[in-house]
């Protein structure tokens, strides 16, 4: 074996192992993050965490019940605002669209998807907080809802497009109108995929902090209704982690574990169950 060949072969082995190392580092980052959070946050998770309000500043103990409820309320608002608009918009792009408008909508959706979340916060601030003159759950929900729309829209469109032609033709042949065909044949056939997109979009905004900082703001107490500032898990993690108290730091870890658990479990369940098998052959 010539020296040149030996060199090429060893370069081959070295570089290929390096790519494997890159993959290993990337993948182990997730396990490291998860493990570190369980290690640090697990021991401070208690029943109180889920049922009590935050303790007064400086005192130990207390929980984050209001932040958990706040996050759920924000997600509810985000779903109510984002899902119908995204879903119907997706139906339009896949089923009814002409030429110019769908192109424009598709391009805008991709653009909106890339807009930094903090800019969405400014938008909600300008649209809701400024006219109302105070922070509110509503403003936070709108900020998150606007972020949900483009994700659901693009996802719905792509799953609707995957529904085979034969199903549509079959329903036309039975005498259905276009909207009957869409509502009772195409949408049910694509429902799993659409559901996946909706849940993943909600899981994504559940962890968003930046757009909530000056919309939902924060609250040390319960926030009745939708018209007052509310606490939320991501914001309270930020506040507690950057705060000066040792006890706050411990609670930030616990809250981080809860938030990460929520997001990861949703992601894993949705990806594992909803995407497995569809009502029709995927091409």
């Amino acid at each position: 074996m010539s020296i040149q060949l030996a060199w090429r072969k060893s370069l081959n082995v070295v570089m290929l192992s390096l790519t494997g190392l890159c993959a290993l580092i990337t993948v182990s980052a997730l396990f490291f993050i998860l493990g570190y959070l369980v290690w640090n946050g697990g021991k401070d998770l208690s029943w109180n965490f889920f049922t009590h309000l935050p303790a007064p500043v400086g005192e130990e103990g207390g929980g984050m019940a209001n932040a958990i409820v706040g996050t759920l309320k924000l997600l509810l608002l985000a779903a109510v605002i984002g899902v119908p608009l995204g879903l119907l918009g997706g139906v339009y792009l896949a089923e009814f669209g002409g030429r110019t408008l769908p192109f424009l909508v598709r391009y805008t959706a991709d653009l909106m998807n890339g807009v930094p979340s903090i800019v969405m916060g400014i938008f909600a601030y300008a649209m809701v907080v400024m006219p109302m003159h105070h922070f509110s759950t509503l403003a936070g929900g709108i900020a998150l809802g606007v972020m949900v729309i483009p994700v659901v829209l693009r996802n719905t469109e792509s799953f609707l497009r995957d529904v085979p032609r034969s199903l549509r033709e079959g329903s036309f042949a039975l005498g259905a109108n276009k909207w009957r065909m869409v509502a009772s044949v195409v949408l049910p056939a694509a429902s799993r995929g659409i559901m996946t997109g909706v849940l993943l979009a909600l899981a994504r905004v559940a962890g968003e902090t930046a757009p909530l900082l000056f919309t939902a703001f924060g609250n040390r107490y319960w926030s009745p209704g939708f018209n007052q500032p509310t606490s939320s898990l991501p914001v309270i993690i930020y506040t507690y982690a950057t705060g000066p108290y040792e006890d706050w730091h411990r609670q930030a870890w616990a809250a981080g574990l809860v938030l990460l658990g929520l997001v990861l479990v949703t992601n894993i369940l949705v990806r594992a169950f909803l995407t497995r098998g569809t009502a029709y052959e995927r091409t």
Binding site: M15, I33, M112, I118, V119, M127, T209, R271
Partner: protein
Amino acid sequence: MATTPNAVTPADVPRNTRTLPRRWAGADEIAHLITMIAAGALLLIAVLLVYQLWVLSAESRHKFGWSFFVGTTWDPVSGDFGALPFIYGTLVTSAVALCIAVPLGVGAAIFLAELAPPKLSSSLTFVSDLLAAVPSVIYGLLGVFLLVPLMRTTIQPALKDVLGFLPIFQGPSYGIGFLTAGIVLAIMIVPFVLSVSREVLLAVPRDQREAALALGATKWESTWKVVVPAARIGIFGSVFLALARALGETMAVTMVIGNNPRISASLFSPGYSIASVLANEFSEATGNLYLSALIELGLVLFLLTFVLNGLARLLILITTSRGSGVLPT
């Protein structure tokens, strides 16, 4: 078709005998209209977003003009606002992040697309997708309590020992600063580089690889000299996409960059970024000019990511449309 006696035109059907499907024909129009309004709502939101950013930043734009971008003072008390330290911080942290994330992400993508057996490849991609789903504030949490002390006690002194002659690795080790923020950002954007690069690598036709191997190339040579160049444009696209993410990333950066508006050649020095100053000061901005200056920063951030995203999508589209890949969303 005049010879088909059974052909019935809509006009022939008497109104009172309309069958069920025909009664619903008008519903098609209604459904079309409703869905069109929903799709139009997104356009309306986008237009409103740009409009609000433009109008609300008017005061600052008129007062400072272009000097907003070169001014280095940020003084809310005297009403003097210059954005350069923030723009600098955003660009420097993103550059550091790209230096780490691009080799790592592209390397991992090569492994997943070219070497790993399909089952391993898909499960590793799944893990990488999960990594992309981890909320930014969680990265910030780990950054504050794990990476910052580690940087202060170990990594920064070590870098100073070895590469201390470079101006970027000089100055005291605070732990916080551009370098720390860049590293956190890098971990956050690797999944984006990885998934898009993998997609474009897989889109390169199989016969290209086989031809190279048949000519006697090693696996690495076929990958590096044939497959990667063929996917080059798409990989650039993935880099732009990741860059757009890094520029707009807020929480993790805010928690570790140090929040100090100054320009320094040293990566160890604390700094500030556009997104961080928005996160920290927006809710307590007093006075219209202050708020307007912050919103102008938001406008700058919006325009930057707008251009980068557009460019990225174009590049990815060019590469994947040549092969069989799909445009990742």
